[in-house]
Amino acid sequence: MSLLHIDPAHLRLPDRHQEAWKYTDLNRYFGTRPLQLEAAGDQLPPDAELQALLACSLAPTDGYRLVFVDGQFQPSSSNAPLNPQAATAALDGSGPKDLQDLLALSKLRHWQLSIETSLEQPLYLLFLYRKETPRHSNTRLDIRLAPETEADLVEEHVGGAAGLALLDLNLHLAARARLTHTRLQHCDADFTLLQRQIADLQDAAQLRQVHVEWGARLSRLDARIDLAGTAARLDTFALSGLSDQQHVDHQVLVRHLQPRAISRLRARGIVDDRARQVFNGKIYVERGAQGTDSDQLLRNLLLSDRAEVDAKPELEIYADDVRCAHGSTVGRLDDTALFYLRSRGIDQATARRLLMLSFAEWILQEMPQESLRSATREAFADHLHLRLSA
């Protein structure tokens, strides 16, 4: 099998001169660490490797699962009452223009999942990436919820070693559909994940998202959520915990296209060592989208003098009867709270951990499933060395 070279010397990649990539320069990123990767294959990995990957997942073993290995759906490892269908004709396989060269490196795997009736249980979408021979993969998954259906999806990314994955995960919510979407990303420390999410919500549809990530070397999420129906509602909660040289970049565009939609976005990050957290949240209100109610709150904790936080909370508004607000803060732990805990006899290091855990808990508490929430909390705390000594 031939190796693919991912090297800016041969590829056209977005760089910091493009506004959307101002803080995540892929030319520079791949310039310092050109990759040579195999393209993802069709065959199942050896069972031992698969089991090892599954063991990394935080998802309960008895839930409904859809397993993807390097973007290839694996029915034999899946047990859900519905399966994604391979899409023959790509609806729009072109992908983001700025990543065109990267996307062209490997074959697009395109899946469609239609949820026609409400799901009784959570559905786990496990995206496993092979560690032993890291791959390059390019996947697209379109999920459609029929009118008035309800579903609880958990998307989890695991493994990958020094591989690279491109993923388009699109959500279509028909009128009055309700989706809870949890996204957990804790890939290996060398992994690169470039993900795009386009969601559209029709009349009175509701999307509730909780994103938690603490893995990968570089994780980029380009999200566009269109509130395309009247009175649609979006709630997004995002948390990241970064150390070493991790780089997480979220570009979130919320478009209010019709009247009386509501969007709420809460994002928090804890950034240590030489890590970098980028967050660009933009609220766009179309002319005529009266009665829009939208706000965004970004909070970041910076723990080291070599870490960096870049935030850009944008508003673009063309309707006058709207309530739009955003806030963004960067800072350190609250000295008063720190002092309070210490005055109760808690040592400084423990007090700091406690406060960071409480900072993270603010987002974690939004995860709907109790058991998954506690597993996530532990893994997140371990990653940042926040576990309170027993």
Partner: protein
């Protein structure tokens, strides 16, 4: 019957731009076009030393390699830089600035008409003024009184001769000639502007002010202002500007540099009322300005206050480089875009020193088809331990054909930094309007009250006389915006 909701728009009919007259006088205006010869000509007119001509020519050479920035959220047709005349001065000013007694009465009359009497007897008490008319300074008042305090306040063309060491040391030290396209252009062709030097320990006894007037057709104004505040000094400086109403656009590309040394404080206020164009967007000034202050000294402070009601297109980001430990940068802004006006304005606060602080309050008002963008950057460098920033951006929309944009960049590289950004967008509440009207206050006045209330935090940063002027301008500019 008031059952029909009246459009806020209807009330804001046609704006009266009372500064839009033309002064008819004989001017010496050089032919349009830009090349080295033109720059040499400007330099010769000003009798400049060689070093300054070289500086201009270097800037010009670099400018020719640059591209006009197009990243701002404004749309305008191409500017033909060869169609502009880069020097125009009243003939009566051929021999440079004179004493007030010798100034052409037509010029004095112009300023009377603009509400700025130049004779010191009639002048605003406590305000010394420099009048820049097209490419030259016409007069500077109270120079002697200021000199008694050791304060130097004169046209920059005069400072080049009288205080060459100061000018050479500081010119381009805050805004380098290569900083950006318009700054490079200004460096090549600047004609006049004000120079201020406050010596150590001096609190400037008067407000200093420059009034910029564009009069001639087909000219641009490229002024350059330099303010130096030595250790422990203090100065408050104001600028105002107006231009005749014309159907074609005129270019204004200024550069302002401020330097604050140890514990010095500079307060710089602008009431910008360039001709905004008519309600269909015809005519008006393109206002592309680079303003930057450097807090070089410890515990120094630079404060920008701007009220931007004029110009058809505004591109302007007065900023502070907070180099000295404990230095403070402030930015207070009211910007209004009505009819087809477009403004992309904000600030840059670059925190380099320890315990530096910055405070940003921006109030944007959009009406008619106006488009308004706040663009701001707060950067906390890895050395800026204990840096703090607070940013507040509020937008007010009047009508449903305008737009408001908020684009703040927050780059933080120190764990002890504390940055806070808040932004809101709202409209004038029907409830607020009805409440005021039920108290007997007419709709237009009610709107003006609410808008002025929205801007209050900024207006209170302006010196008294200018705060009143700013409120008046805002009301006039909003005429017909509301219903």
């Amino acid at each position: 019957m008031p059952n029909e909701p009246t459009a806020l728009e209807d009330i804001i009919g046609k704006r009266e731009y009372r500064e839009g007259f033309v002064t008819e006088l004989e001017a010496e205006t050089i032919a349009p076009g830009l090349n080295e010869d033109v720059i040499r000509l400007i330099s010769r007119r000003k009798n400049e030393p060689d070093w300054l001509l070289d500086w201009r020519l270097k800037a010009f050479a670099h400018w020719q390699t640059m591209r006009e920035p197009r990243w701002a959220n404004v749309q305008y047709g191409p500017i033909d830089y060869q169609a502009i005349s880069y020097y125009s001065a009243p003939k009566s000013m051929a021999d440079g600035p004179k004493s007030l007694a010798e100034v052409d009465p037509k010029l004095l009359e112009t300023y009377e008409k603009l509400g700025i009497p130049l004779h010191e007897r009639a002048a605003l008490a406590g305000v010394a003024m420099d009048m820049v008319f097209d490419s030259v300074s016409v007069a500077t008042t109270f120079q002697e009184k200021l000199a008694d305090a050791g304060v130097l306040f004169c046209p920059i063309s005069e400072a080049v001769h009288k205080y060459p060491e100061l000018v050479q040391q500081y010119l381009g030290s805050v805004v380098p000639v290569k900083d950006n396209f318009f700054a490079a252009l200004n460096s090549a062709v600047f004609t006049d502007g004000s120079f201020v030097y406050i010596p150590s320990g001096v609190r400037c006894p008067m407000e200093l002010s420059t009034y910029f007037r564009i009069n001639e057709r087909n000219t641009g104004q490229f002024e350059r202002t330099l303010i130096i505040a030595e250790d422990d000094s203090h100065v408050s400086y104001l600028e105002g500007c107006t231009a005749p109403m014309r159907d074609e656009n005129q270019l204004h590309a200024a550069v302002v540099e401020l330097v604050a040394l140890d514990r010095a404080e500079i307060k710089y206020s602008t009431v910008q009322n360039w001709y905004p164009g008519d309600e269909n967007g015809k005519g008006g000034i393109y206002n592309f300005v680079t303003k930057r202050g450097e807090c070089r000294g410890v515990n120094s402070k630079i404060s920008w206050t701007q009220v931007e009601t004029g110009s058809s297109v505004t591109w302007k980001y007065p900023g502070c480089v907070l180099r000295g430990d404990g230095s403070i940068g402030e930015f207070y802004s009211v910007a209004l875009s009505h009819h087809r006006q477009q403004a992309d304005t904000g600030t840059k606060m670059i925190h380099l020193g320890r315990n530096t602080r910055s405070n940003i309050v921006s109030k944007g008002i959009s009406a008619g088809h106006g488009n308004q963008t706040y663009r701001g950057m707060v950067k906390i460098s890895p050395r800026a331990e204990g840096a703090r920033n607070y940013t507040q951006c509020d937008s007010l929309l009047i009508g449903d054909r305008c737009g408001a944009h908020t684009v703040p960049y927050l780059e933080t590289r120190h764990p002890s930094a504390q940055c806070e950004h808040e932004a809101t967008t709202s409209k004038i509440g029907d409830d607020q309007l009805f409440y005021l009207r039920s108290r007997g206050i007419g709709e237009e006045e009610a709107v003006s009250m609410i808008v002025n209330g929205f801007c209050k935090e900024v207006f209170r940063e302006l010196p008294m006389e200018f705060a009143v002027e700013a409120q008046r301008l805002l009301s006039v500019s909003l005429e017909g915006a509301v219903g």
